[in-house]
Symmetry: C2
Subunit: 479 residues, 2 copies
């Protein structure tokens, strides 16, 4: 922390350079070495300055090429960015008790609204529905007796083979037989937790975290220990280590290292490696939820924490829901030393997945079309996210803060002046707009003034009106 003022000064210097147009979008930022020489600062200070500018959306990192000036989002100059959480002891909200609250909020999803900003995936038109339905039709023609044949244990062979190849992009080397196909990532997380822990065990989770995880933990009788999580670098390893000294019954850690839900953070690779090593050394299972990484703005794939696993202590869970087909319930998991146990639990819980969608997905993913789809999807999602950030910045009251994720399908919004998100949720729903209030992302009340906003919907007159009504609701509550 000793260089904090210095790296901030350095960052401000270059921000001004961008604001006044000395550096323009696409320009290469001076290299770290150049910064060190120009400003007589340490490597650490130069790096911290660049990372801060990157986190704040001024720069973007391109692998092996350095930092570049980003397209300016007017949002960024109007709505401030979310700050780091204070370095504190973990929240003692061990006993999950928000099921009823989550359930009530989730249940409103049964009723259609005009503008649904509560989802965490793209609109149907963003997905390759045409090639997928052709692939499904072909599968039905080529396998006429498909509906008469029991499903393959563990998953359809061709699908598991494609998933094993896909995993290589995240630097995971896995055999097809080590992949278990599940009903979405949700079932994979259930099985992972049931494999490593029993009711009463403590599970360390990010804070804020995915509400679905809190629901799973409560329904399994496990206790969530919330660990402060940075909107930029993900779970705080210091806080986790501190927590392990305080609570001796932490059985597992569940993290979303890439494009965290809801904050959108990406753990630096060195954090991932450290986390994997720490978990192994302390005998705590690491469960990785990796549903968003293919939606990174950057075409260079993000590494999974699992790729540092040498002892089988990491359970990697993923799905196609957000990246390829919201209408398919296809997830999968690689469970290392717990593989036999998750296979048994899956068989006992729901039997193998049916084959048709696996066949369909396998054909599409094996073709070059999958990669082309992902590249198009990343660009569209980035544009939609930037437009959404600008729209929120323009319409929400002063003091609103925004996350600046480098990918994914949502933004995390901190409302000013303690505006309660449940009130926003209720009034927005009356106005035909569904958002997800911060209360569902924690058992504490620390995020009660936050909202998660879906950025997966293409811009339209309806969407614009929806945001206008939402901004109106927030402004009124702001007084």
């Amino acid at each position: 922390m000793e260089s904090a003022p210095l790296y901030r000064k350095l960052a401000s210097h270059y921000q001004r350079a961008i604001e006044v147009g000395t550096l323009v979008p696409g320009d290469r930022m001076p290299s770290v070495r150049t910064l060190m020489e120009l400003h007589s600062v340490s490597l650490s200070t130069a790096l911290q300055a660049c990372r801060r500018m990157e986190a704040e959306g001024w720069l973007e990192a391109r692998p092996r090429a350095g930092y570049f000036v980003r397209q300016p989002a007017s949002a960024r100059s109007r709505a401030a960015l979310i700050e780091e959480p204070p370095a504190a002891l973990p929240d003692p909200a061990q006993y999950v008790g928000i099921h009823a609250r989550i359930s009530a909020i989730v249940a409103t999803g049964r009723h259609p609204v005009e503008v649904n900003l509560a989802a965490a995936c793209g609109a149907p038109e963003l997905y390759p529905t045409e090639p997928l339905r052709h692939a499904a039709t072909r599968a039905l023609r080529q396998h006429p007796a498909l509906f008469g044949c029991p499903a393959e244990p563990g998953g359809h062979a061709a699908f598991r083979a494609v998933l094993a190849r896909h995993a290589l992009l995240s630097r995971i080397a896995v055999a097809p037989e080590e992949i278990l196909v599940t009903h979405g990532c949700t079932e994979a997380l259930n099985l992972a937790l049931r494999a490593v822990a029993v009711p009463g065990d403590v599970i360390a989770v990010e804070s804020p975290t995915y509400y679905g995880l809190l629901q799973i933990l409560e329904s399994l009788g496990m206790r969530a220990l919330e660990i402060p999580t940075s909107p930029h670098t993900g779970i705080s390893l210091e806080a986790l280590e501190l927590a392990a000294q305080t609570y001796d019954n932490i059985r597992a850690v569940v993290v979303v290292p890439n494009l965290q839900n809801p904050q959108g953070s990406i753990m630096p690779d060195e954090h991932k490696a450290r986390l994997v090593q720490w978990c192994e050394a302390t005998g705590v299972a690491l469960i990785e939820d990796d549903c968003f990484s293919a939606l990174s703005d950057d075409d260079t794939p993000l590494a999974a924490a699992k790729s540092w696993d040498r002892s089988g202590n990491v359970i990697h869970c993923a799905s196609l829901h957000k990246i390829m087909a919201p209408g398919m319930r296809l997830g999968w998991m690689t469970a290392g030393k717990w593989q036999a146990r998750v296979e048994m639990l899956k068989f006992s819980q729901s039997r193998p997945n049916e084959v048709l969608t696996q066949m369909t997905a396998a054909e599409f993913m094996a073709s070059g079309e999958f990669e082309r789809h992902l590249r198009r999807l990343r660009v569209r999602l980035r544009h939609q996210r930037e437009w959404t950030a600008e729209t929120i910045a323009a319409g929400f009251p002063a003091g609103t803060r925004l996350s600046a994720p480098r990918g994914g399908v949502h933004l995390w919004v901190e409302l000013p002046g303690g505006i309660p998100s449940e009130a926003v949720f209720d009034r927005a729903l009356e106005a035909g707009v569904r958002v997800l209030p911060g209360v569902v992302f924690s058992n504490s009340n620390r995020f009660d003034h936050c909202l998660r906003i879906n950025t997966g919907i293409p811009r339209s007159r309806t969407l614009e009106q929806g945001f206008a009504r939402l901004a109106e609701v927030v402004r009124r509550l702001a007084g």
Copy 2:
């Protein structure tokens, strides 16, 4: 029991009449009133004689028409029928510990064998795969964006509507919204148990019972209390009541009232009614697994225990796996007073089922083809079952006993002289034949000399050879 010798004498009398051809298949049996007059016996004795002959396969009951002489199965005169279990206290095998054993046996299913007699459903050619794939292809054409749209919470509306109409046949009146679609009956049973009980609770089950249920209970940390179960009338209500006096923490009873797995028994309607009332009066939840009832030999639908439920204390679970499409993982449940809880658990465990197969199933079930398919299937399964029984009777050693189910897709075989079914399983597998050994159907060792044999495979040269090899294995082990 006072009339035992008398009703047996009466039954023997008419069995001889059938054996010598006085009465031929299709003949109406003298009515109960006639029997009373002819033989000067009580109503109870006459009825018991008819029921015994029915249970032994000599007669069949046709609703509102009386008893008729059945097609003779030579099996029945060669292999004796399985006897009633002794009226005893429930087995104290409370602590389930057979997971590893079941898992090891189930895992062998990953390797294809020449003849698989271990399944509990029909061969692919018994199912309407052609109309189903056409329905699926139409659904894909009519809903081109299907794979891009998240699934409907609770299940696809049209499918739930069809299921509600289908339930009427089992005399269950339920609204479509009260039906939750699940990944097969297996997931429904998991959700039902999780809704009503917590780890450590005792669950009363039939003995022998479906191995999948024992697996679920162990994986959920619940304890199975095995209740003696008759091959003719299902779970013993007397033994259940006795058990409740001994164990005060029975949280639920799980039964298959119609065509029990593995014995094939059908609970008389008055037993179903009594069980429902007893559960309600004692505050024990009743979970009904109803996957086989559409496979009754009789076209008259069997009533579900749920149809006697007046307080929402019965959770009814079913699936299409055995009756329409082994390749679809479509189950459903109606959970009475636990409906909101199972909906929440389903959402938390695996999210809603994807829509394509639900749409496909809905279209087929709404057409008249579904009922025509079921009628054809019942006839084919009956013929296959009778052929299988004859084949076993002819090839297995003397002293072998067989169940005589009035429907379904399996036979329960008791081997003579304590032949261990695990040895049969191992050696048959080496010979390319897979059976299910009795050990997996109980935590006790009471059924170690039993086998469950699938009767869903149409007769062929390969099947005949498989049975010949199986009989050879059993004969060698017999001495």
